[in-house]
Amino acid sequence: MAITYEAVKAVSAQLYDWSLRKVPDDARSALRDLQGSERNETARKTLTFMLASADAAERNGRFVCSDAGVPVYLMRIGTAARLEGPIKQAFVDGFAELVARIEPPLLDHVTHPLTLERGHSGRNMPLVTYELIDNADYVEIICSPKALGSGRWAALEIFSFPTLEVIERYVLEVVMKAGSQPCPPVVIGVGIGGSFDYAAKMSKQATLRPVGQAHPEAMVAAMEQRLLAAVNKTGFGPMGTGGDATSMAVHVDYSAGHGFTPVAVCFNCWINRRTSARIYNDGRVERID
């Protein structure tokens, strides 16, 4: 047995479909917590509406947001996994088949960045990142569709031997620039160090972590806590119309690097749409989230 082209095609397409119709349980739970501590009445109403919208979408099988974004995947490959067939093509074909059958249909969101033409396919689409997991006999596929609403506010800057103060100030500056726009309360991913590409990847992957799960190192976990408190003093609030709940979690990760230190910051809107599943060598599929 092996992990086949057919399996990856079917699972990747299914994950995308699921991710459009369900607000993950951890995000819902975080919204309920924020509702409990929110002091602004309009903001509380907005949070109530968000939770009701999540329920309605799931109950009726509707999209939570009309902007389905573009398909973005992380595929983590166990080094003991056996792959069979054109796995990269499986993502392309799975998305094409989904576009043809999904109900209600998807809007044309895949955009050529130079001509601005839009459709349902394009160069390097879906966007897939591959990683290795030592010794695992499965592949894990995580789908996290991304759209302009929160996607456009990500930013990266490279510093030279920055202090923590410089790093944290920069995170706040990016948050201030995003302001009311990224459909708060957001999850904020911060990637520090490594190299230009590593920092961006770490910040993105930090947003995939279960909402509010602290970094295993105490120093980083403390930074996450104080950044979350700081962001929630800015006042932008749910949907950016004022309130305490601007962010439900700040997730930080870092890599060792040289003295030049990239700091990357990105946002997930309140829906935090992401789904994941494992496919094992014996063909078994396990949905994780």
């Binding site: 607000v23 309009t42 109403k45 907005t46 509406f49 968000m50 009701a52 919208s53 309605a56 979408a57 009726n60 509707r62 999209f63 939570v64 947001c65 009309s66 902007d67 209600p104 249909p105 809007l107 044309d108 839009r118 302009l148 609403g149 456009r152 031997f161 202090t163 923590l164 103060e165 944290e168 100030r169 706040l172 201030m176 302001g179 009311s180 726009q181 459909c183 120093m219 403390a222 104080r226 950044l227 408190a229 700081a230 003093k233 800015t234 006042g235 932008f236 609030g237 949907m239 950016g240 119309t241 004022g242 809107c269 309140w270 829906i271």
Partner: protein, 205 residues
């Protein structure tokens, strides 16, 4: 809907509203450019928007087997994308309500004051509930555009809740929040410094 200037001016920042009647929507930058071009050239628009409402809402419309159009879902899109075009459109058409999510800039706020126009913030990610207000498609213009770019006149009942985030008197929640957060920034950074010191993790590098 319809809404006149006096009714729009009676609304205040922070009010929550629901909308019933006919609204016109489009989520396409090329669409707003085309509207601006029509106004500049003195051409009539295919849907009458004079004294009307125009929202930055995306919609999926398609033809039914009977030849009618149905709208499957709607949702707000980021309004600031249209900042450069909206002052001319708001003044040129005398709009009394615009909206979407994320707000509009200071030039738009001035245009809204002149026209007696409010900005309504719709909850993003509210597609499932917002779409329940749909009662039908009245008109579709520019069918050659992508479905969410078309200019679509919809009949809605109880669409919302939407928050009046910019009123017709020059008040903008977005401008206030941005200014307020800038003011608090020094204090927020001081708090961060205090937290770092308390945790005994002052940078040693």
């Amino acid at each position: 809907m319809p809404l006149d200037a006096a009714q729009a001016r009676a609304l205040r920042v922070g009010d929550t509203v629901r909308i019933s009647g006919d609204i016109v929507v489009s989520a396409g930058l090329p669409t707003y450019q085309r509207i601006a071009d029509h106004l500049r050239d003195g051409h009539a628009l295919p849907i009458n928007l004079r004294d009307g409402v125009l929202f930055h809402l995306g919609s999926y419309s398609r033809e039914t087997q009977g030849g009618d159009l149905e709208v499957l879902y709607i949702n707000p899109t980021t309004s600031t994308r249209f900042n450069a075009l909206m002052p001319g459109i708001i003044r040129g058409l005398g709009l009394h309500a615009v909206g979407g999510k994320g707000g509009l800039d200071a030039e738009c706020v001035k245009a809204m004051q002149d026209a007696g126009c409010v900005y309504l913030s719709f909850p993003g990610g509210g597609s499932a509930l917002l779409s329940e207000a749909l009662r039908g498609v009245r008109e579709v213009a520019w069918p050659e555009l992508l479905t969410h770019y078309r200019l679509v006149k919809l009949r809605v009942e109880g669409l919302g809740p939407a928050t009046v985030a910019i009123d017709a008197h020059g008040n903008s929640i977005y401008a206030e929040l941005q200014a307020g957060s800038q003011q608090r920034m020094a204090q927020i950074l001081d708090d961060l410094q205090r937290d770092r010191e308390q945790q005994g993790r002052i940078d040693q590098r």
